[in-house]
């Protein structure tokens, strides 16, 4: 399994008492497979995604990424794991405005020492970004920016790709096109995709679906 989550709990300090966001969530995700996580706003979807990406600490339970237990890792080891094996795609794209499109795409892979020019060129061509590589993110449309974010995430050939409402800022047509591309590339590279979405239509495009309600899986 690329991603193994067991009985994970997470609370945030509230004004009077702690608010439990996740109450013992478990799931598994194998290489080359995709999982859609749905749920109401505030159900804990993004929190679970962040925990799975080694971005935040959980209170109890365990998460394993490709056999590496997160509970024992320090800040530096978590960062190293993210550099090599985990990629993220967000609704806000979160591109680096000071870098050109080409540099944005290569950034994560180069940080992890995994930049492969051939694979990068293929991604760029496949995502229709070859003509905009010298431009800056602010000069691109929303759909183009999201494709750059996907290219950046896949350029690292991650074991686990985490996507939080990746098409939330796009219209229906652009959204479907971006999703199809992403799924095709995920299958091709053997990456496990863990995707958070509100959209039932997008969830239907993935191999597995999981619904989160009040911090637990239904």
């Amino acid at each position: 399994m690329v991603l193994k989550i067991r009985n994970v709990t997470k609370s945030y300090p509230g004004q009077t008492a702690e608010t439990a966001v996740l109450r013992g969530v478990s799931l598994d995700l194998a290489a080359g497979r995709s999982l859609a996580l749905t749920g109401e706003s505030g159900s804990g979807k993004s929190t679970l995604l962040h925990l799975a990406g080694a971005l935040d600490h959980f209170d109890s339970g365990e998460i394993e990424i490709d056999g590496t237990r997160l509970s024992g890792l320090g800040d530096g080891q978590r960062a190293a794991l993210r550099r090599r094996d985990v990629s993220l795609v967000f609704q806000q794209f979160n591109l680096i405005p000071s870098l050109s499109v080409g540099s944005n795409i290569a950034l994560h892979a180069r940080l992890g020492g995994k930049w492969d020019t051939g694979w990068g060129t293929r991604l760029v061509d496949h995502l229709g970004l070859s003509t905009v590589q010298e431009r800056y993110p602010e000069q691109l449309s929303g759909g183009q920016q999201q494709r750059v974010a996907i290219a950046r995430a896949l350029a690292v050939r991650p074991k686990l790709l985490l996507a939080d409402e990746p098409t939330g800022n796009l219209d229906e047509t652009a959204s479907a096109a971006v999703m199809e591309l992403m799924l095709q590339l995920v299958r091709e590279s053997g990456t496990a995709l863990f995707l958070v979405t509100h959209s039932a239509a997008i969830a239907q495009m993935l191999d597995h679906r999981l619904h989160l309600q009040h911090g637990t899986t239904a």
Binding site: L55, R82, N94, S103
Partner: protein, 805 residues
């Protein structure tokens, strides 16, 4: 509606207390340094005015000779014509141990006559006693004590209302002490005159009438340039403070764009919103201005001793009195803060006024947008520098010199973003690895947000390099000049002329070369002029620091056919070798050479001693420069002490005189060093506030990089590195600007202000020290944001990715 809208507008500060603190501190710093300088200036000017008032010379027009002095007979003629005039004779008299400024007045005619009579009566002395031999002296108690210790002939009346350092006496006594019979320095034209008098221009065409408002004292006239220098420094600090304010105001309005859009869509008119923002700024400006004034008062009180040392060192004009709170100073300080705030806010308020109802929150300039803005700034900068050179070429004077400096500094500041950006682009070419590339690119992206702070840093560093180079060049030149000028090995001052004559005879018998130092004080075009008589000696020919001279300068001067003048006299009146100068009526001599005379604000001429004695046979003969081999110096001093009753302090060797002169020089620039340091401190603070105000905007740029596996510690290190990089590029660019500033100070400002031009020397070690100081300021400024970043809760970074953000 107004109250509700105001509450919404002010709620911003509750969420951004650091921003509020930055704004208030920036304003207070700007107001503080400016008002400190103004307080010092006001105190010094008040001191000069008070002295003029106490001496009775204030508020009266003056009749001054074109050159030399006014004969007493001329004064008597004018009095007979019905004019009410008060004669004044000024000069320096050397008593046993010390020199004193003496002012001789007609005790019956002088405006201060009643006060002098009252003071004499308080001493149980009949008022007319001061007119009878031996003559009475009036002086401030402190000066009176020194006078009493230095001589025992003339009784001294203590008058607390007189300024320190000046002795007042009847004209006859003053002319006896100064050995200047039948000469008056100037005539005061008393305010009340009989109508129908023949105009003075007809009665005395050789005298010039200077109206009361223009008849400033010698001190006030000489120190004007110093106070202008100080004002320029204050203005620089004020501008640096405003850079902080401008950035903070722009950010606070930018962050409130969403709020403004909402309020406008709810029906709040733009006019009301603009008015409320203006009112908010005005209140903040007044509060911060008041805090700044309080701080300025403390700074002024701390700096006043330094200023006192400077004024005493440069002009012999110490500021008498302590710092007092003046309503005019408070009001002008508040008005300056208010004006400065609105100047700093003008662009943001204008943008707000023109903002469309549905405008989205503005993104900071990036990419091409930033490049365009850098280019536009650079074009304005080049235009400002060109305008500065045009001013310099077209106009003359101190004001145009400062206008040139201002244009140069402003132009360079406007050019800075483009230059830094270009520098970083060049640096980025050598970047290796993704992290390094990101760091260079991210640093470049920070320029728009950091540019104002960097401009402040550039100005502060350039001012430090410029002023530092000027002071160090001056010191080096001054030291070399002292070596040339003080060529005698021992300096002796006898306590009386008879002792002087005895000493001269004794020295001759011992075979020791003694060069007498004899002079006559006179006036030229209303300003003091000292005429020295020199005895021809090879030492003069070998050592005297000539700047420009005719080929046979020494022969001509020794024969009494020509004279030498000091640089300041030459520059003030456009005199060159070969020209002719009228030293006194019917005493015209060609100028054979010009010599440097640093540290002396007044005009000076050198003629042959024989020529001077022919004109003024009674001038004192007490001071001598003695030539001796180094190994004989201590023995010679010992012999003179054994042979003559000369006070210990009246015999000094060359090394002691040099050390004293250098000590005075160093004290002179205490105030400059203090202001330099304060300006650099303000610039460091500007850097810190920029980094802190950019903090919230930085997170969305940093969080994705963190998510890609760069640790918080690495990001924190990057913050420090970025700050270092920007400060380093700015410091490198500040070097040429600082050197241009030094050149302007040495070749333009000093010439106008003091009358001497100095060569420029370079001090690379000082630059290195300043460069390291700039880097240290950058590290300190970045330390707090970096510390926050290294310890930030991941949840804070994750908020960047939250879809609800």
């Amino acid at each position: 509606m107004t109250g509700a809208t105001l509450l919404v507008i002010l709620s911003h500060w509750r969420r951004h207390p650091l921003q509020l603190a930055t704004l208030v501190t920036g304003l207070a710093l700007a107001a503080g340094l400016w008002s400190a300088v103004q307080a010092i200036n006001a105190e010094a000017r008040a001191s000069y005015d008070r002295a003029a008032e106490q001496l009775g010379t204030a508020g009266a027009a003056r009749l001054v000779p074109e050159a030399g002095t006014i004969p007493v007979a001329r004064y008597a003629d004018l009095r007979r014509s019905g004019w009410r005039l008060a004669p004044v004779l000024e000069g320096v008299v050397r008593l046993e141990r010390q020199s004193f400024d003496i002012m001789g007045v007609d005790l019956l005619q002088h405006p201060q006559a009643p006060a002098l009579a009252t003071a004499a009566e308080a001493d149980s002395v009949p008022p007319l006693e001061a007119l009878l031999p031996p003559g009475r002296i009036f002086a401030h108690p402190e000066t009176a004590a020194l006078l009493t210790a230095s001589q025992h002939v003339h009784p001294v009346t203590r008058m607390a209302t007189l300024p320190r350092g000046i002795a007042l006496a009847d004209l006859s006594l003053a002319s006896r002490l100064l050995r200047r019979p039948d000469s008056l320095s100037y005539l005061l034209v008393l305010p009340e005159q009989r109508p129908g008098l023949t105009p003075l221009s007809e009665l005395a065409p050789e005298l010039t009438l200077i109206p009361a408002h223009a008849a400033a004292s010698d001190t006030a006239r000489l120190t004007d340039s110093f106070h202008l220098n100080l004002t320029a420094f204050g203005l620089l600090s004020f501008a640096v403070g405003l850079f902080i304010v401008q950035g903070t105001i722009a950010l606070s309005l930018e962050q409130r764009r969403g709020m403004i859009r909402t309020l406008r869509s709810l029906g709040v008119p733009m006019r009301l919103l603009s008015g409320l923002f203006a009112a908010e700024l005005a209140v903040l400006a007044l509060l911060a201005g008041a805090a700044g004034l309080a701080g300025g008062y403390v700074v002024a009180a701390a700096l006043l001793p330094g200023v006192n040392a400077t004024l005493a060192g440069l002009y012999g004009a110490p500021v008498d009195g302590s710092l007092s709170l003046r309503p005019g100073w408070v009001l002008s300080g508040l008005a300056m803060t208010l004006g400065g705030t609105f100047l700093a806010a003008a662009q943001s308020l204008f943008a707000l006024w023109r903002m469309p109802l549905l405008a989205a929150p503005a993104a900071r300039a990036r990419g091409q947008q930033a490049s365009r803005s850098h280019l536009a700034g650079a074009v304005c900068g080049v235009a400002a520098i060109a305008a500065g050179f045009l001013i310099l070429a077209t106009f003359q004077g101190l004001i145009s010199g400062f206008a040139f400096l201002g244009a140069l500094m402003l132009g360079a500041a406007l050019l800075l973003p483009l230059l830094v950006s270009t520098g970083l682009s060049l640096g980025a070419r050598f970047a290796k690895g993704a992290y390094s590339e990101w760091l260079w690119a991210d640093t470049q992206a920070q320029i728009p947000g950091m540019s104002l702070a960097l401009m402040a840093l550039l100005l502060a560093l350039a001012a430090n390099i410029g002023v530092g180079t000027m002071v160090s060049s001056f010191r080096l030149t001054f030291t070399g000049w002292l070596d040339q000028r003080l060529f005698a090995e021992v300096y002796v001052t006898a306590t009386s002329d008879s002792q002087g004559a005895e000493l001269a005879r004794w020295l001759e018998k011992q075979g020791i070369t003694a060069l007498p130092r004899r002079y006559k004080d006179s006036r030229f075009k209303g300003a003091p002029l000292r005429i020295y008589g020199f005895e021809d000696d090879a030492a003069f020919r070998k050592n005297w620091p000539l700047l420009d001279a005719l080929p046979d300068v020494w022969d001509q001067t020794a024969r009494g056919e020509a004279m030498l003048i000091n640089e300041q006299l030459a520059r003030r009146h456009g005199l060159v070798p070969g020209g002719v100068l009228e030293l006194e009526p019917e005493w015209r001599l060609p100028i054979a050479g010009i010599y440097s005379d640093y540290g002396n604000p007044n005009g000076q001429a050198m003629v042959s001693l024989a020529a001077l004695l022919a004109r003024a046979p009674n001038i004192p003969n007490r001071q001598f420069g003695l030539r001796a081999a180094p190994q004989e110096i201590s023995g010679l001093i010992k012999s003179i002490r054994e042979e003559f009753d000369i006070p210990r302090e009246n015999i000094t060797d060359q090394a002691t005189v040099k050390a004293r002169s250098l000590a005075v020089f160093d004290r002179t620039f205490v105030i400059t060093a203090a202001l330099n340091l304060l300006t650099l401190g303000v610039a460091g603070f500007a850097l810190l506030t920029s980094l802190l105000t950019l903090w919230n905007q930085r997170l969305p740029q940093l969080a994705p990089v963190w998510a890609m596996g760069v640790t918080r510690r690495q990001l924190a290190a990057a913050e420090v590195l970025r700050s270092l990089l920007l400060a380093a590029v700015t410091a490198v660019l500040a070097l040429p600007l600082g050197l241009a500033l030094a050149w302007s100070l040495l070749s333009v400002i000093n010439v106008e202000a003091f009358g001497w031009k100095l060569p420029m020397f370079l001090f690379p070690l000082d630059w290195l020290r300043l460069f390291l100081l700039a880097l240290l300021a950058a590290v300190i400024a970045a330390a707090l944001p970096a510390r926050r970043l290294s310890r930030i809760d991941p949840a804070e970074l994750l908020k960047v990715f939250a879809n609800e953000r």
